[in-house]
Symmetry: C2
Amino acid sequence: MLLQQYNLKVTPQRLEIVKILQEKGHLNIDELYTLLQKKFPTLSLATIYKNINKMCENFFVSEVKVPNQKNVYELTKKEHSHIVCSQCGTILDVDIDTLELNHKAQEVSHYKIDRSSIIFNGICPQCLKNK
Amino acid sequence: MLLQQYNLKVTPQRLEIVKILQEKGHLNIDELYTLLQKKFPTLSLATIYKNINKMCENFFVSEVKVPNQKNVYELTKKEHSHIVCSQCGTILDVDIDTLELNHKAQEVSHYKIDRSSIIFNGICPQCLKNK
DNA sequence: CTAAATGCAAAGCATTTGCAAATAT
DNA sequence: ATATTTGCAAATGCTTTGCATTTAG
């Protein structure tokens, strides 16, 4: 199982967290809590915090900081960017090659750049229709 | 004065906030508080929060969300990106043209993209030297 | 003169911690 | 068998609110 490879013991609660993240993609703590409670009515917020923190430390999960929203969490995958709908808040993954971009930033800044995270801001097709 | 154009009354405290932001570029709430107290020993954290919040609402100041750091604030200027040193935390502004990038994201996603914020992660020249 | 800003204390949330019991390996 | 995880309650920490006083326009 995936979890073990990240030094995380496999518990029912964690399995459910993984399942939810797989299905929904990006969730904040409260959304996770609400969904998890359906299956584990006694599950406490503290457990979620402990788990998500540990999963982030171990790079099994990644935190995404979105403007004007609570932080959301996703299963760590191949580097990618995010598009946020400023209307409805939906977050979409998108594959954008950032190599060239990183190079440019490196030239300009003389920093040694190894990663970049991009958040695009726009309006999703659904919200565009509803206007 | 700048502040008035953003519907912000000019107070000594605010002037000092502006001055500090101009000089230091990016600061979190606590750093601002520490610096402001030098000039205004009675100044309260609540005042800073109120001011920064108002300044953000009025787009006079912008919030920057940095991975693994507290949010920092800067005077709103022409769109630009940020480079964060993963060693010492220093944040640098950098001018990167994002037009092409936004186009690409728009094509891939079918969102109507109007802005993007990029955070580069790397090591600053200073920290590179100290190795 | 009026509306807004300041500073204090208190309130409100979000997150973390400590600990006993339960669980995974 | 041991170390980790869970869930609860309590503690901490960060941010906001209410209110009386002061200040800006």
